[in-house]
Amino acid sequence: MSTLDLEIQLLAVVVATACALPGVFLVLRRMALLSDAISHSILLGIVLAFFWVRDLTSPLLLVAAALTGLLTVALVEGLLRTGRVREDASIALVFPALFSIAVLLIARYAGTVHLDLDMVLLGELAFAPFHRLEVGGVDLGPKGLWVMGTILLANVVFIGLFYKELKLTTFDPALAGALGFSPVLMHYAFTSLVSLTAVGAFDAVGSILVVALMIAPPATAYLLTDRLSVLLVLSGFIGAGSAVTGYWMATVLDASIAGSMATACGGAFAAAFVLAPRRGLLAARRMRARQRWEFRELMLLIHLLQHEGTADAETECREEHLVEHLKWNAKLAGRVIRDAGGKELLELRGDGHLLLTQRGRKMARSALEGT
């Protein structure tokens, strides 16, 4: 593995982690698509700042882009507050419009200047190591790494400092307001952070795949845990893991790194969706099967309890009768009886009569009493 490989992977990991952290709150607040809106509309900020300073590497571009992100959020909120359009529609109205203005400006005035749209939308991680940060002639590593490292640090510091506030405004904004924390202020502070992260990341992975890095790892982790702190850490690791996996996939296939990273994120989500221990598709199916089985067992116990000690107990409490009474087929009835017998909930007497044990009786009673 060359230094180049290592640097690209390091950058990919930093970008993915920096995106995953604010992404957790986007997913929890059900604002996932705001990342899509922001990552597209920041193009306008970049274009405007570029026209002003005529330099694609100026830090001013970052500032302008982050401001456009804020503008996007403000416009969406403003449109929403008119009460005439819903949230999804107001998002879908705002960002294509801002994006269109940017594309028009580029087409009209930037024809002679190199501002490659593909580059903006798709990013190119492989080129990132060629832009070096040099101070006094000393090479300090890829510039993107420093930018994204700073943004990652900003994310960690912000979430660390305002953990309590973020948690409260995310899960119970009304309570947060009543306690004197401003949900609105938190919202804008948080969206600024999302904008800044999107701006920093789109350079490497492009504006569309920023969405994958911001949303997929937190959504994956959300299927695996119920604790916010674990969710944050897990999201970071899933993002970083997807980044490295994506990088190697891209190297093997000789394909787009950013695209492979997004695909890896999707693969992680699909795996969690199917296999997650408690919330996965398979676990849910298994749980339903188990519940169905337990229910059958309970039906049998209750049936035995109802007829216990009555005159028709001899005819009612037999395997053959269950077939008729509970509409089970013979095989199923046999299995349920064997299973319940194995758990010592009932006994099978030599003449085929089914008897409740002490435990089985208790279980049937508590089920009937609803405790």
Partner: protein, 301 residues
């Protein structure tokens, strides 16, 4: 004949007009159902389908690519539905994941295809931003055929789609297969979106679905009228955008159309007589004034 109104501009104008008409009319359902961003997800999710169609058929024939896009967009939508139904991940996150992951996968395929020998990948690039100027007569036929089909389906299932949009549970109690109707309506929406990708591009197609419907919503409370109005707004913006961009170099059609439909939506939100923000404010002011006068209150109170 006006000099700039040449054959190319005419083709583009007809194409953009048709696209606006179909997307605007069918977008009404998406907007009413709170699924405005589904259009965005579908258009992004179409990329792998387009690339695969290109690989499999070896042509960039309009119909093949559109069908590939439709299949991928359709699968993407089904994945969104599945994730929302079977997990606690909410719709916005599911849309975000499908949108970006499908697109990312499409990019992997695309970069892989570009390295294949004699892969004339021309035409695939225009998918991102759309190049209305590349529209040809053959594309118009595809747009008209598929778009017309989508409109026809929505007319045939008008009553069912209406129930689906406003009261799904009621429809279910009537014994209508709501899940199947949901998939049918989504399919129609997918078709209306993928036929526009070549001309308008991935990012801007979602605006063409949402903005005309959002505009039309402000002028009427009747679904039929809303769909017709949205279609007209979309169609008019399409034609006007194409003509405007024919005026000079460096005015791409897609963004122009998007800005026109957005303007229509904004004007409607603020100025529409019954629902507009400004008329409502005027009415409130008049009521207040008449109330003050009737009660003989003084201004400085």
């Amino acid at each position: 004949m006006i000099p700039w109104l040449n054959y190319t501009v005419q083709v583009v104008a007809v194409g953009a007009g048709l696209l606006g008409l179909v997307a605007g009319a069918l977008g009404s359902f998406a907007v009413l159902r709170g699924q405005s961003l589904l259009g965005d997800a579908i258009s992004h999710a179409a990329l792998p389908g387009i690339v695969l169609a290109f690989v499999l058929t070896g042509t960039r024939a309009s119909l093949a690519l559109v069908l590939g896009a439709a299949v991928a967009g359709w699968v993407g939508t089904l994945v969104v539905m599945l994730v929302v139904r079977e997990s606690r991940v909410s719709q916005d996150a599911a849309l975000g994941i499908v949108l970006s992951v499908f697109f990312g996968f499409g990019m992997v395929l695309l970069t892989w295809v570009q390295k294949m020998p004699n892969a004339a990948q021309a035409g695939l690039d225009s998918f991102l931003f759309g190049q209305a100027a590349t529209l040809m007569m053959e594309d118009l036929k595809v747009i008209a055929g598929l778009g017309g089909g989508a409109l026809l389906v929505s007319i045939l299932f008008w009553k069912e789609f209406k129930i689906l949009s406003f009261d799904r549970e009621f429809g279910a109690t009537l014994g209508l297969p709501m899940a199947a109707l949901d998939i049918l309506l989504t399919t129609v929406l997918v078709v209306s979106i993928v036929i526009g990708l070549q001309a308008v591009g991935v990012v801007l197609m979602s605006a063409l679905v949402v903005a005309p419907a959002a505009a039309a919503r402000q002028w009427t409370d009747r679904l039929g009228l809303m769909v017709i109005l949205a279609g007209l707004v979309g169609g008019a913006a399409g034609v006007a955008g194409a003509l405007l961009s024919g005026l000079g170099r460096g005015i791409p059609t897609g963004p122009t159309v998007v800005l026109l439909v957005t303007a229509a939506a904004l004007v409607s939100v603020f100025l529409a007589p019954a629902r507009g923000v400004f008329p409502a404010w005027l009415r409130a002011r008049r009521h207040r004034a008449s109330l003050w006068e009737a009660n003989g209150w003084r201004e400085e109170l």
